[in-house]
Symmetry: C2
DNA sequence: GCGGTTGGTGTTATATTATAACATTAACAC
DNA sequence: GTGTTAATGTTATAATATAACACCAACCGC
C-alpha cells in the first residue's frame, strides 16, 4: 500500500497480534459495505473472517471445511458466492497462481496490486507500486493494448524468511528444501 | 529472435499465414531441444503443434480431445506430461488466469514475460519489457522481497480489436506510439 | 397486512482442471 | 542381448469451480 514511510516489508511480523488484523479487517469491511449500500451478511462476514484467519492464502475448500465445522450448512456454492461478493467489494484478492484467496490489506483503495508470495513461509502480501503500474501501462500502450485488468504475482522469499529483518533471530524456521 | 525494431503490436494480424507460425515454432523447438540435449518426441511435438494451432490460449483438455481424434491413445497425464516438458524447455507459457497454455514466441530467450490477453478476440501475446521487469524487481527489493518467479497477465483489448475488425483486416497499425 | 419482487442462501448435481500410482514400452549404454 | 532409464499408457481420483433449481426472508407499493 502507499505508505509514505518506507516499510522494510509488507509482510506481518511473526508473533504479531493477528487478532487485531482480523478485527481491523472486519471493521473496515463493515464500514465499506455500509458506505456502498451493500450487505455484509453473517455468512459473508464469516467467509471474510476465515480468509483473514492467517496471512497465507486460503483455498475455497478449506473455507468450506471450516464453515462446516461451524455447524453451518455449506456447499461449494456457499463459499464461492461469499468470495464473489468479497471480490466485488475489493475485500479479498484472488491469487490465480494458487487458486486461493487473501484478505485485501487496503480495501476501498488498492484496486490493482502486486501480490508477493513467500515460498518459504507461505504468506502473501500486497504492494501497490505506482511505478510498476505505470511501467505496465506504458508497455501495454506502446504495443497498442488497452489494459482492463492486471494480475501480478511474484513468488520468492520475504525479508523475514531471508533472515534479514526482525524475526530471523526470533525464530528458526522449518527447513524447506 | 528478439526483434530490436519495435513492433506496433505483438498480436498477429488477422489473416496472417498461420501455418508459417506453426512451422517456425516447430523448427525452433527442434533446434532448441537439440542444443539442450532434450528429446522432442512425436507426442511432445504434437502437443506443441496443438498449442500453436492458434494464438488463443488452449486448455489441457482441448489438447486432449484433439490428441484423441488423432487416433492416439491419450489421457490427462499424456497431455500434462507433454505440457510439463514444454514448459520446462520454455517452449510454452502457462496462463494462470485462464488455466490455459500458449506457445512461446521466443523460446530460449524470454524467461519472464508479460502476457497480454485480448478479451475480444481471445488471443494472447507476450512482451518482455525490461522496464517492467526492472520496476517489479526494484519494487520487490525495496520491500525486502527476493523474487524467484513472476506472473504478469494483463487482460484488455488488442490494437486490432480496438478499432473494430476493419483495421485488423487491413493490417492497420494501432495508433499508440 | 397482502402480494409481488428481489436478493441471499440451501441443495443437488455436474463441469473443469490436475495429479497419484502403477504398468508397459522404447531408447540407450554397456 | 541385458540392464537401466526415460517416456508413455492406463486407471483412478483429487482439487477447483459452476449450473440449475428450490426456498425463504426482507423490502416495497399498496
Amino acid at each position: 500500500m502507499k505508505d509514505p514511510g518506507r516499510r522494510p516489508t509488507p509482510f506481518p511480523r511473526r508473533g504479531h497480534n493477528h487478532a487485531k488484523c482480523v478485527r481491523h479487517a472486519l471493521v473496515a469491511a463493515a464500514e465499506l459495505c455500509a458506505r456502498q449500500g451493500e450487505r455484509l451478511t453473517p455468512l459473508r462476514r464469516r467467509v471474510l473472517e476465515l480468509v483473514w484467519s492467517s496471512h497465507q492464502p486460503i483455498g475455497a475448500y478449506a473455507i468450506l471445511d471450516r464453515l462446516k465445522t461451524d455447524g453451518r450448512s455449506a456447499a461449494p456454492p456457499t463459499v464461492y458466492r461469499g468470495l464473489e461478493f468479497l471480490l466485488e467489494q475489493g475485500l479479498v484478492h484472488r491469487i490465480a497462481s494458487l487458486n486461493a484467496f487473501i484478505g485485501c490489506a487496503d480495501p476501498g483503495h488498492a484496486h490493482s496490486v502486486q501480490i508477493l508470495i513467500c515460498t518459504q513461509c507461505g504468506a502473501a502480501a500486497e504492494l501497490d507500486d505506482g511505478r510498476v503500474n505505470k511501467a505496465l501501462g506504458r508497455s501495454a500502450a506502446e504495443n497498442g493494448f488497452s489494459v482492463e485488468g492486471r494480475i501480478v504475482e511474484l513468488s520468492g522469499v520475504c525479508g523475514s524468511c531471508r533472515g534479514g529483518g526482525d524475526r530471523a533471530r526470533a525464530g528458526h524456521r522449518p527447513h524447506v528444501a
